[in-house]
């Protein structure tokens, strides 16, 4: 079996199992634009999942309600936006871009509103540790 036959068989195998495009492109020599987009998408998915885990740890470990709002509204929204970016890079279809933008913009618009309402309700129901505050503008 010659080297060329091995490479051809390997490329055929990756195509047969529908493997990641980057691996197939490396097998036949050189990265294609498709492979780069898929690699970036994988990196975005992983980063978003790590940020989600950070938000989960924050929600479990932080001491008070007002602290826990931080974990849900900052790392989690950024992680979700990264996962949506990875999905966009993976679909590469202009028709889906509008819907993905809608989801992302909606998250960005509604997360602060929800956080503000939860914070106000927590302040009114003594969910804030007054000892930790330097100044209390609402007092």
């Amino acid at each position: 079996m010659t080297g060329g036959a091995v490479v051809a068989a390997g490329a055929a195998g990756t195509l047969a199992v529908g493997g990641v495009a980057a691996a197939g492109a490396v097998a036949v020599g050189g990265l294609t634009g498709t492979g780069v987009a898929d690699l970036l998408a994988g990196g975005c998915l992983l980063a978003g999942a790590v940020l989600s885990l950070a938000a989960g740890i924050g929600v479990l470990r932080l001491p008070s309600t007002v602290d826990r709002i931080h974990a849900v509204t900052k790392p989690q929204v950024l992680g979700m936006l990264l996962i949506l970016l990875g999905l966009t890079l993976r679909l590469r279809n202009p028709a889906d871009l509008g819907m993905l933008l809608l989801v992302g913009l909606f998250q960005l618009a509604t997360a602060p509103v929800t956080a503000q309402m939860i914070g106000r309700a927590a302040y009114r129901s003594n969910g804030v540790d007054r000892e930790l505050l330097d100044t209390d503008e609402l007092a």
Partner: protein, 87 residues
């Protein structure tokens, strides 16, 4: 997609959901449980998006939009309900 990456993303998102569920069980006040619910729903949106990215499917995109809308409405309604509660 690299299977190692798929497994890693799945495990990370699953652990996030478990942590949010733990806070939902432990949380002393209703508002803590509401924060945990927010995290749970955001992680669900992330998981559906990641699944669509892995399989290169655009079928579940409307599900993402509906989840985002319903999550916001549910949270606002629950906060309005909890505002009268003195815990």
């Amino acid at each position: 997609m690299n299977p190692v990456l798929v497994v890693a993303v799945t495990v990370l998102l699953s652990v996030t959901v478990l942590l949010a569920l733990a806070r939902m069980v432990l949380g002393p006040a209703l508002l803590d449980r509401l924060v945990a619910t927010e995290l749970l729903l955001a992680t669900m949106i992330s998981a559906v998006g990641a699944e669509a990215a892995v399989h290169r499917r655009a079928t579940t995109l409307p599900v993402l939009v509906v989840l985002a809308l319903l999550g916001f409405l549910g949270s606002v309604a629950l906060v309005r309900f909890a505002a009268g509660e003195e815990s």
